[in-house]
Amino acid sequence: MTAIQQKVTEPVSDELALVQTAKSGDVSAFEELVRRYDRNVFRIAQHITQNREDAEDVVQDAFLKAYSNLNQFQGQSKFYTWLVRIAVNEALMKLRRRRPERMVSLDEDVKTEEDSVPREVADWSPNPEQQYSQAELKEILTKTIQGLPPSFRTVFVLRDVEGLSTEETAEALELSIPAVKSRLLRARLQLRERLSRYFQKRDSGDGKQ
C-alpha cells in the first residue's frame, strides 16, 4: 500500500515580492494574493462554520485583516500559513457567535477514544463513490464531516483537503505537532467509520442503505 500523495501547492517564489509590494500600499499586488488563495480560504471557512453566508464574511474579513496587518507578517512562515491562521480565527469567531451555547475552541481535546477504535471492518466496494450521484455523494460527505467536533474537522481539512504539512497545520492553529497528529488520526478514523455505513460492500442489492 503506497503513501498518500500530498497536494502540490503553487510555487511561492514570487510571493514574498508580492507581499512586499502590497506592504508598500499596492492594492493590485494584494489582489493577486487574494486570487491565489480565496478558494482555499472559502473552503476552510465553509468547513469550520458550515454556513455559506458566514464563509463569505470570513473571506472578506480575513483578507482585510491580512491587508491591514501586513506589516506584522515577517516572512518566517509562508504567507498562506499566516493567512490561514487569520481565517481560522475569524471562522471560529463566527461559529462562537452562532452557537454561543457551545464553547468552540481548538484546544478542546474531545475524549472520544472509543470512537476511534474501528468497529466497521467490512471492506468497501471497489469504487464506492460511484454508487451515488454527485449530489448524493456531496450530501453524504458534508453530513459526515459535520458530525466531527470543530477541532478535529479543522485539522482534517487543513491537512488532508488543503494539503498543509503537519508543521504548517500546527503553526496555523497554534497547536503542538503531537496534538495535530492525534487529532488527525482520530478525525480520519471517525470519518472512515461513518463513511463505511454508505460505502461497504454488500452481498446483494445496489449498495445503498
Binding site: 500500500m1 503506497t2 503513501a3 498518500i4 497536494k7 500600499g25 492594492v27 494584494f30 489582489e31 487574494v34 486570487r35 480565496d38 478558494r39 472559502f42 473552503r43 465553509q46 468547513h47 464563509a55 463569505e56 473571506v59 472578506q60 483578507f63 482585510l64 485583516k65 491587508y67 491591514s68 476511534s116 477504535v117 474501528p118 471492518v121 467490512a122 471492506d123 468497501w124 464506492p128 463513490e129 455523494l137 456531496k138 460527505l141 458534508t142 464531516i145 482534517f156 488532508d160 483537503v161 494539503g163 503537519t166 497528529k181 488527525l184 488520526l185 480520519r188 478514523l189 470519518l191 472512515r192 463513511l195 463505511s196 460505502f199
Partner: protein, 85 residues
C-alpha cells in the same frame, strides 16, 4: 505488533513519514491482519474521497463579487490611514 499499535502509527504510515524498520513492521502486520488491512485501505480511501470531493467550491460570480468587495475595502483602508481595520 498488536492492532492497537498499528492504529497508533496509521497516520504516519499513510503520510509516508515512517522509518524503514517501522514501516516494514507495519507491513508485516498488514500481511496477516485482514481487519487492519481493511481499516488502512478504507482510511486511505476516505482521505482521497474528501480530497477529490470539491466540496464548497467557490462559484465564479461569487468569487468576483467577494474580490471586488475586498479590493474596495483595502482601498478604503489605505485612504483612511494605517489604523486597524
Amino acid at each position: 505488533m498488536k492492532c492497537s499499535e498499528f492504529l497508533q502509527e496509521l497516520t504516519n504510515y499513510l503520510d509516508g513519514v515512517l522509518d524503514d524498520r517501522t514501516k516494514a513492521e507495519l507491513e508485516d502486520h498488514l500481511a496477516w491482519c485482514h481487519n487492519c488491512y481493511v481499516v488502512c485501505d478504507t482510511t486511505k480511501k476516505t482521505i482521497e474521497i474528501y480530497r477529490d470531493s470539491q466540496l464548497y467550491e467557490l462559484p465564479d460570480d461569487l468569487r468576483n463579487r467577494l474580490r471586488s468587495a475586498i479590493v474596495a475595502k483595502c482601498e478604503a483602508h489605505k485612504k483612511a490611514g494605517p489604523q486597524e481595520a
